[in-house]
């Protein structure tokens, strides 16, 4: 079975080249992409989602081009600091993905209301985004990306704009999510500890234009718990990732 996400010799950029010779394969696992700010992490994610075209190399999603995977509604996308659709309630925001591109079959068995409940937002289901905190908005963003039950989940620093306590809670939420159902997750972050805590594998990008400068297998057992972050081995892994960054 081919990898869910496969990038081979991919270069990309806007006016200047941003990414060069990226090789990356992601199976049913969580891969964290770590790099400095402005290193091209977001570009890499947009590339995988097919929002931009590579200047050379190939990108395959579930064995097809990203544009095809998009049309089949197989991609979940969570951005940093989602503003959602401010004129829609929480429930209406979560049902939005079901209202567009109706031709595509989605394999979601979990209803929008159920996703809202799982995110702990049942009390706010009729609220508008401006009535929610940043953490609640990100939970809605998560729920609306999962309502189509995508095989591929792309996340662009989804917790970066939140306070530390909210971030801790949402990290646990994420772990429960992908420990419950196998998906291919690409998780972009600049937070090394977060990457180690969440991922099965960390890929470090750096340089200009950016290449993958190192990969670290995260051997921590699942399910992961907060205790592990203080346990032996955790900081060795963090150090290993940090070395690649420098």
């Amino acid at each position: 079975m081919p990898a869910a996400i496969a990038l081979h010799g991919v270069s990309a950029g806007y006016t200047a080249p941003v990414l060069r010779d990226i090789d990356l394969e992601v199976g049913n696992e969580v891969v964290a992409i770590v790099g400095r700010s402005g290193s091209g992490k977001t570009t890499l994610l947009r590339l995988i989602a097919g929002l931009i075209e590579p200047t050379s190399g190939t990108v395959d999603l579930l064995g097809v081009a990203p544009a095809v995977a998009r049309r089949r509604k197989r991609i979940g996308f969570v951005a940093q600091d989602s503003r959602l659709h401010p004129w829609r309630t929480v429930r209406e925001n979560v049902t939005l993905p079901l209202e567009v591109n109706r031709r595509a079959q989605t394999n979601g068995h979990v209803s929008a209301d159920e996703w809202v409940a799982r995110m702990g937002l049942s009390d706010a289901i009729d609220a508008y985004p401006h009535q929610l905190s940043g953490g609640m908005r990100q939970r809605v963003a998560l729920a609306r990306s999962l309502v189509i039950d995508p095989e591929v989940l792309l996340m662009d620093e989804p917790l970066a704009s939140l306070d530390e306590l909210t971030r801790d809670d949402l990290r646990d939420e994420l772990l429960r999510l992908w420990e419950g159902r196998a998906r291919s997750v690409v998780y972009v972050t600049h937070d090394i500890e977060e990457a180690v805590f969440l991922a099965d594998r960390v890929a470090v990008i750096g340089g200009r234009p950016a290449r993958i400068v190192g990969g670290v297998e995260i051997s921590l057992a699942r399910p992961r718990t907060k205790v592990m972050r203080r346990g032996p081995g955790f900081y060795d892994l963090v150090e290993e990732v940090r070395k690649h960054l420098e």
Binding site: L51, H85, W87
Partner: protein, 256 residues
């Protein structure tokens, strides 16, 4: 809380109007100002009561001309703004043309419109449409382009079509801009209709003002101006109500 504030604001506005009327009344009486220079407010009020039927009829005509021009002008503006937001080449082609329309002095071409379209309703509607066109075009265009790029990207990853993104994201994002365009355009439409009537008409408030001017009949002139102002205030209030209903999610609507 807000209801009370609205009442206070209303009371202040009414108080100011009454105060101005009292000052004018006293002044015209004490100084014996002739009524062909400045009529006393009481005389204007009496005339408005006496000619209430005429003012209502002519006001209705002006309002319908303005409304027709508003609908046509803003409608065309929105369609063109959509095309411009859709494609850069169209934007670069249409925008200079729109500025040409904007820079044409309405007062100078109004007689031309009468020549082209006759003395009926058509030239008034055309002038009102022309004058409302530009503010709505700019507001619609900026509004449609104001959609959050992250949200556009999100819809694209779901395979949403351009039309779906337009309907679900771009139009609602543009709503606050459409409303500010509508507020500007509504008043302009009324002015446009009056200008049209001024240059050649047998009906409407503009015509009433024109004839009153020629006869130095200032009580009906002021009466017509006041009716026009009342129509403008009512139209603005109507837009305000619609705005509060449709934009309840918007921070500005929440704040007021």
């Amino acid at each position: 809380m807000t209801a009370r504030r609205t009442l206070i604001e209303l009371a202040v506005a009414l108080g100011a109007i009454v105060a101005i009327a009292v000052v004018l009344e006293v002044w015209t009486r004490v100084m014996s100002v002739p009524s062909y220079l400045l009529p006393a407010p009481s005389a204007v009020a009496a005339r408005m009561l006496a000619d209430a039927g005429l003012l209502a009829r002519e006001g209705g005509i002006t309002l319908s001309e303005a409304a027709g021009g508003f609908v046509i002008g803003t409608g065309v503006a929105f369609v063109l703004a959509t095309a411009m937001a859709w494609s850069r080449p169209l934007e670069h082609t249409l925008f200079p043309l729109a500025i040409l329309v904007k820079l044409t002095p309405i007062i100078a071409i109004a007689p031309l419109f009468t020549l082209w379209f006759g003395f009926g309703t058509a030239p008034k509607v055309a002038i009102a449409a022309l004058i409302t066109f530009f503010p709505m075009l700019v507001n619609s265009f900026v509004g449609l382009r104001s959609a959050d790029l992250q949200e556009v990207a999100f819809l694209e990853t779901l395979g949403a079509s351009g039309r779906e993104i337009f309907r679900h994201l771009r139009v609602p994002s543009a709503l606050p801009y459409l409303f500010s365009g509508a507020r500007i355009s509504l008043n302009l439409a009324l002015i446009g209709a009056v200008i049209g009537e001024w240059t050649g008409a047998d009906r409407g408030l503009g015509r009433v003002i024109f004839v009153a001017n020629a006869n130095l009949d200032l009580t009906i002139l002021f009466g017509a101006v006041l009716v026009l102002a009342a129509i403008g205030i009512a139209a603005n209030a109507f837009v305000g109500v619609a705005e509060r209903r449709l934009l309840h999610w918007h921070p500005i609507a929440v704040a007021t």
